[in-house]
């Protein structure tokens, strides 16, 4: 019993580290740690570790994406949703909203499991055949939602070409530099270039009414299961699409973002059990350690719930720590340190070719911000290769 708890806490620790370093995706850590996890020859411990790490990551990763890389307000269209809160001194509030979303996700999981077990094996073969067309339609919806359409199309296509070339290159782990550049280092460099000054952050009680939570909760329950079957689609795109059908204010949008992020990871373990397929690297890592059966799935679900309970105070404490200190420390220094970490990690895991991908994706990310297009169009880097793969 003690070893099981220890495995969970180690997973929470690892997920906290990966969550706090911008650009580090949980899939990468799962792949790196896989040989060690296979070597310990205790599948239960490995499964607990991976699922605890994955869930913790989804709780924590909004902290660096909110507090770091904020551009100035002229580029409001291109910024990530949390940055708008940060620039108003409400970074901690943004984190608390995504945290509410993550909690909703864990509760929703209990509702979704029986529905999913009944429906997914029946509908997945049809969805799989139509996957390419579903993703094309999703992309069209995202573009139609924009007032200015030409720039998003250009950004989406360029990201797609870059993604396709990177994924077919000799670089190992090409997704690491690709996503780090598009979403991490580009924002950091841009905020350094514009000498962004972060205002003092207020730590106040969250003023959101219970009825405001109902809308994102219902949307999450409908959208996340669909999104978890569609590879290449990030939680931001899923949140944007859902808000097109059900108008959400910016607080509700952050709740939605947090809930979809956590729920998609949670459901990925379920899809692995039901259809032996998953869109997340962590679930795939589990599949390489053990055959996923009802007992493994139960272990994963218990770990998700227990980890979430621990992650609530952990996320609040870390967010408060960031909020209290972000304007005391030189933002340029933090940005430089973060960039150095990202470049080092890229060279270690993806080599020199990876560095070229990082530089190019960073330039494209900056172009996207400069042209005031939504950064979610950069997900073309994964969507276009996925569409090409699935088209007959």
């Amino acid at each position: 019993m003690l070893s099981l708890i220890l495995a969970m806490f180690l997973g929470i620790f690892a997920g906290t580290i990966t969550g706090l370093i911008p650009g580090i995706h949980i899939n990468l850590i799962a792949i790196i740690l896989l040989p060690f996890l296979i070597a310990i020859q205790n599948t239960t411990l490995a499964v607990i570790f991976i699922s605890a790490m994955a869930i913790t990551h989804t709780f924590i990763d909004f902290i660096p994406s909110t507090f770091l890389g904020a551009p100035n307000e002229d580029t409001a269209l291109g910024v990530l949703p949390g940055h708008k809160f940060l620039m108003q001194g409400k970074g901690h509030e943004a984190i608390k909203l995504t945290l509410i979303g993550s909690i909703i996700a864990v509760i929703s999981l209990i509702i979704i499991i029986p529905i999913f077990i009944f429906t997914v094996p029946k509908i997945y073969p049809t969805i799989s055949q139509m996957m390419g067309f579903i993703l094309i339609w999703t992309t069209i919806l995202l573009i139609l939602n924009e007032k200015q359409k030409i720039i998003p199309i250009i950004i989406f296509l360029l990201a797609g070409i870059l993604g396709f070339a990177a994924l077919n290159s000799t670089a190992t782990q090409p997704i690491l530099p690709l996503l780090t550049g598009l979403f991490g280092s580009s924002s950091i460099i841009y905020s350094m270039k514009n000498k962004t000054v972060i205002p003092e952050q207020k730590i106040e009680k969250l003023s959101i009414q219970k009825k405001e939570i109902i809308k994102p909760t219902l949307t999450t329950i409908i959208v996340s299961p669909i999104c978890s079957l569609l590879p290449g689609l990030g939680s931001s795109q899923a949140a944007i699409i859902s808000s097109m059908f059900s108008k959400q204010n910016r607080e509700q949008f952050l709740i939605l973002l947090g809930s979809i992020n956590t729920l998609v990871i949670s459901i990925s373990f379920l899809t692995l059990f039901l259809i032996q397929k998953s869109r997340t690297g962590t679930a795939i890592a589990i599949s390489q350690i053990t055959q996923i059966n009802p007992s493994t799935l139960t272990t994963v679900i218990i770990t998700i719930v227990a980890t979430s309970i621990i992650c609530i105070p952990l996320t609040i404490s870390l967010s408060k720590l960031f909020a209290r200190n972000i304007n005391k420390i030189s933002y340029t220094k933090i940005s430089l340190i973060t960039l150095t970490i990202l470049i080092t990690i890229t060279i270690i895991f993806s080599g020199i070719f990876g560095l070229l991908i990082l530089v190019t994706s960073t330039l494209l990310g900056i172009t996207c911000i400069e042209l005031q297009a939504k950064k979610s169009f950069l997900m073309g880097a994964l969507l276009i290769p996925t569409i090409i793969y699935y088209l007959p």
Binding site: I31, I38, A165, N168, Q288, F353, I357, L363, L364
Partner: protein, 99 residues
């Protein structure tokens, strides 16, 4: 020049460089010693190559043992074993079995 234009041009140069470098990958050539068809996957083993070559497809390929092939692909780790996921495969010739 407007900064956005400069970043745009530099992005294009970077993308072109990646495409050009990707095109110049060293292909693998060799004689097929085994070919296994399973659910949506074909596993090929070459005489002079220790790693398995994998193609994710449900199609039946016009390939058989002793065929000389040329492939382009990407190394991936699966269950701690290195595999080559094939992007492009071409049959060069067929070597008759000497035995």
């Amino acid at each position: 020049m407007k900064q956005s234009k400069l970043f745009f041009i530099l992005s294009l140069i970077g993308i072109l460089a990646i495409i050009i470098l990707t095109q110049n990958q060293n292909p693998i050539t060799g004689k097929i010693t085994s070919i296994d068809y399973s659910n949506n996957k074909i596993t090929i083993q070459l005489e002079n190559h220790s790693n398995e070559l994998i193609i994710f497809t449900s199609k039946i390929l016009n390939l058989s043992i002793n065929d000389n092939i040329i492939v382009e692909g990407k190394q991936k780790k699966y269950k701690n074993e290195t595999q080559i996921i094939i992007n492009k495969i071409e049959k060069l010739s067929h070597s008759p079995d000497k035995s």
